[in-house]
């Protein structure tokens, strides 16, 4: 059976595309799927460091696309997560190095070799975005609860729909405390504004920084709320036992709960 290529995109930079790609990829591989994570951010590669595989790069995605090497030669096997492979970006080429036809060919090879390939799209909506989307069958749009991110997500959703891809929404870096006091857009607000299907909610989590510091996959860290969320998202993508979307909640102390319950006591 042919695999599926899923592009992970956002328009805006710095909202967590690379972390999401690495985490969902690892979580999917842990469920037994053969997964590739592909860094399409040509010239600005980062998926390799986030995954802790930066020392093992020999060939890169441009080498595969240009047929300078086989897909297997450029696929770096993650030793901690079975069935997970990284295809790193090229650091020296620029984004115009490849043409559409070459990418369509590359997408076919990916589908043959892997069950799921996650394509980490560069920020922006220029050539790098086009190249990533051409290879994709499905799309996940990452968005944080900020106006700039939501606006860019809306733009990207429009561009994807124009290419007959109906993306799903992943909301990242939710701060439940701020949502509770009305100072952050809730996921309901965002779904209302963007009107697309919700894939999952990931809350702000210090462990994400720890994970990228060390290069240890977030989904292998214990007690990480974000890590747990990515596990659930992977399961949902897999269609396995489809766990309901869990809304990050702000856990207040007993005293504050009591005060809030009584309402009038300052």
């Amino acid at each position: 059976m042919e695999g599926t290529n899923i592009v992970i995109t956002s328009g805006k930079g710095g909202v967590g595309k690379t972390t999401a790609t690495a985490s969902i990829g690892a979580a999917l591989a842990l469920t037994g799927k053969k997964v590739a994570v592909v860094d399409m951010d040509i010239g600005l590669r980062n998926l390799d460091v986030v995954m802790g595989l930066e020392n093992r790069i020999v060939f890169n995605v441009i080498d595969v696309i240009k047929k300078k090497c086989k897909l297997k030669q450029a696929s770096i096997r993650d030793r901690r997560v079975e069935n997970l492979y990284l295809i790193p970006a090229s650091q020296s080429d620029n984004k115009d190095a490849v043409n559409t036809q070459e990418i369509i060919e590359f997408a076919k090879i990916l589908r043959k070799e892997f069950d799921i390939s996650l394509i980490d799209c560069p920020a922006g909506i220029e050539k790098g975005f086009e190249n990533s989307v051409v290879a994709a069958d499905e799309a996940i749009v990452i968005c944080t609860p900020e106006v700039s991110s939501v606006r860019d997500a809306d733009r990207v959703i429009g561009l994807l729909l124009a290419r007959s891809i109906t993306p799903k929404l992943l909301i990242n870096r939710i701060i439940p405390k701020m949502v509770a006091r009305g100072d952050m857009l809730s996921h309901e607000d965002m779904v209302e504004v963007l009107s697309i299907e919700l894939l999952g909610l990931v809350e702000m989590d210090d462990k994400v920084v720890v994970s990228t510091n060390t290069g240890v996959p977030l989904v292998l860290q214990r007690n990480s709320n974000a890590g747990e969320a990515f596990h659930r998202i992977a399961a949902r993508l897999n269609g396995q036992n489809v766990p309901p979307i869990q809304v990050p909640r702000y856990r207040r102390g007993l005293f504050r709960k009591l005060r809030s319950f009584l309402g009038f006591i300052g």
Binding site: R151, G182, D183, F264, G266
Partner: protein, 89 residues
């Protein structure tokens, strides 16, 4: 007095996220009304061709523009006509 209490009594209209949502909705509407200069100039060429079938017009004086007002946007086309063309069917 707790801010929770104030919020309960006066509703949630002071929430900054409500401001964010309103601004976003408006921004997205305006974003979708924007049209690139290339497309606008293609439209102009097409319109000139169509109108020229029925009227002799001054191509140089043909003007096309999009006007945004508070609650509506309009495509405004303005062209002087020199003469009507009477088709010979």
């Amino acid at each position: 007095m707790s801010s929770d209490f104030i919020r309960k009594v006066f509703g949630r209209s002071n929430d900054s996220k409500e401001v964010a949502k309103k601004r976003l909705k408006l921004a997205l509407i305006y974003d979708k009304l924007e049209i690139s200069n290339d497309i606008l100039s293609n439209l102009q060429d097409d319109m000139v061709t169509v109108i020229s079938r029925y009227f002799e017009i001054d191509r140089a004086a043909f003007k096309i523009d999009i006007h945004h007002a508070e609650d509506a946007s309009a495509l405004v086309v303005n062209t002087p006509i020199k003469a009507a063309k009477h088709s010979k069917h």
